[in-house]
């Protein structure tokens, strides 16, 4: 049987590298997209109003501070 140990370990390292690089890239993108800025809290209020057909969860007057 052919042993693919070294290629598979190198494959795993490659995947680790791709993971770290793409994580860094998307983290950078998230900064550019405003997730760390002054409007970063907007989604948490909007999600409470996302289903007007659900009468039970009509939002209270939430404070957007």
């Amino acid at each position: 049987m052919t042993d693919y140990t070294y290629p598979s370990v190198l494959f795993a390292y490659l995947m680790f590298f791709i993971f770290t690089a793409t994580t860094g890239y998307f983290l950078f993108r998230s900064v550019k997209a405003g997730y760390w800025g002054k409007n970063s809290e907007e989604p948490k209020f909007r999600m409470l109003e996302d289903d007007p057909l659900d009468p039970h969860t009509q939002p209270k007057a939430h404070t957007r501070n």
Binding site: M1, D3, Y4, T5, P7, S8, V9, F11, A12, M15, F16, F19, T20, T23, L27, S30, A33, G34, Y35, W36, N39, S40, E41, E42, P43, K44, F45, R46, M47, L48, D50, D51, P52, L53, D54, P55, H56, T57, P59, K60, H62
Partner: protein, 465 residues
């Protein structure tokens, strides 16, 4: 137009959500939950009475355990998380699900896979790799189903109405991408390796199956349903981003802590310990956010079953994620590794934290998508308390038993068989706890199916618990 909306998109009234794919996934996952509970009880009984069903090859421990593990992970939990995501992603994006037909096709394929596993695993068709037991043809079908699911979700997110995405959307996108990587490694890359390297890759998969599949999926669910069921905004969206990105950076390296004191390089062992300790950052960011969101809202726990499940799951998440880094330390690991401590830890993560989150989501969603009222609030409370008390009994008995087991092994002068006999009382407690948990699961399943089949409420009337 809000600055947060995508340019050129006007605010539209919410479209009607069909939720057909969500119904398929949720109802089948709840059913598998109940079926696999029987398997769990059989396994627990075998610890107390080793001869129990031992003469029938299909019911031997080596065939039952993979069915229990895969059934709970893929038949119940992941399917439930998929079903819940088909509910909340379209709502968070302000659009319909990209394709309900594709979602239903995914659900049908998923059911074929699970039913295939129900026959294949007891018949002895399995790869013999932890969490990757499914025979290769079924594992290939899982990849196809995941591509279908991922395409549907990403297409929905791509067409979203709002530029900025809520944190649940982030976690779910990550689940889809990370699962692709983790599942392929565990189920296919391991087939090309041998010996200790295969074990190392397999543990990377096994640990990341929890950390990079069930954790982000479970947190996506919790981040959505804690604010929704309490009708209170999340404490901090920015803090949720800190939790998300720190998880993304540190989790992938932790799998090798299962190989501590084993024949792998010391640097890899040390790296896995360091990154395991660093996991405290995302965990505490998440837990603080959940607890702080409940400020002034704790009184809701008395009457809100979903919230009971969510906050208990949060506590279990904190405990299991404190326990994990601590037993990654070499000194602690030397005692607890390979003992009953580890299944105690794993059950608290997958059952205590993420199944609690999923059950909360199912209780919240099913009355809404079927347009009915929850069949019985009393039964829902019973399912919670049975699950909680049974879970606590199981976790604590396994931790204490595991620590005791490890201590006995480490003395070096106690015969192994004596350490097995000594643990019998622990396994009796585990079986009794399992009976409570299974009763909780059947109560849950009965309540959910009765709700789904119940009388439809008039349009606009509250379907909520």
């Amino acid at each position: 137009m809000s600055a947060m909306e995508k340019s050129g998109t006007a605010v539209q009234p919410q479209e009607f959500h069909q939720d057909i794919a969500a119904k398929w996934f949720l109802m089948s996952s709840v059913s598998y939950f109940a079926i696999v509970a029987i398997i769990a009880l059989i396994i627990a009984a075998k610890f107390v009475w080793p001869e129990f069903l031992g003469s029938i090859q299909y019911f031997t421990y080596g065939r039952m355990r993979p069915l229990h593990v895969n059934g709970m992970l893929f038949g119940w939990l992941l399917a439930a998380d998929i079903g819940l995501s088909f509910y909340f992603i379209p709502r968070l994006c302000g659009v319909k699900l990209w394709s309900e037909k594709l979602g239903v096709a995914t659900a049908i394929l998923w059911n074929i896979i699970i039913l295939g596993a129900v026959f294949a695993l007891p018949a002895g068709y399995q790869k013999g790799l932890e969490y990757a037991d499914l025979p290769t043809p079924l594992a290939v079908l899982v990849v196809i189903a995941w591509l279908m699911y991922g395409f549907n979700i990403f297409a929905t997110i791509y067409s979203r109405k709002y530029e900025q995405m809520y944190v649940s959307t982030w976690y779910l996108m990550a689940t889809i991408l990370w699962t692709a990587f983790v599942y392929l490694t565990g189920n296919f890359a391991t087939l090309f390796t041998t010996g200790v390297n295969q074990a190392n890759l397999n543990w990377m998969y096994t640990h990341n199956a929890v950390g990079l599949i069930f954790t982000p999926a479970g947190l996506a669910v919790a981040y959505y349903f804690i604010p929704r069921t309490s009708n209170t905004p999340l404490f901090s969206h920015k803090l949720s981003m800190v939790g998300f990105w720190s998880l993304a950076f540190v989790y992938v390296w932790t799998g090798a802590h299962h190989m501590l004191h084993g024949p792998i390089t010391q640097w890899l062992q040390t790296i896995s310990i360091v990154f395991s300790i660093m996991l405290l950052i995302p965990v505490w960011a998440v837990v603080y956010n959940f607890i702080a969101s409940m400020k002034g809202q704790w009184h809701q726990l008395g009457e809100n079953v979903s919230l009971k499940f969510l906050m208990s799951g949060t506590i279990f998440y904190l405990l299991t994620c404190f326990q994990g880094p601590m037993h990654s330390l070499r000194s602690v690991n030397a005692i607890v590794s390979k003992t009953d401590w580890i299944p105690g830890h794993a059950h608290m993560a997958v059952m205590g934290a993420f199944s609690f989150f999923a059950m909360a989501g199912v209780y919240h969603v099913v009355p809404r998508i079927f347009g009915t009222k929850l069949h019985s609030e009393t039964l829902a409370n019973w399912s919670f308390w049975l699950f909680l008390i049974g879970g606590l009994g199981m976790f604590t008995s396994l931790w204490l038993g595991g620590f005791w087991q490890g201590w006995q092994w480490s003395t070096g002068n106690i015969k192994f068989i004596d350490t097995v006999i000594a643990l019998k009382p622990v396994w009796v407690v585990r079986l009794l706890s399992g009976v409570l948990i299974a009763t909780g699961i059947y109560t849950f399943m009965f309540n959910i199916w009765s709700t789904a089949l119940g009388t439809k409420l008039p349009q606009g009337e509250s379907a909520a618990v």
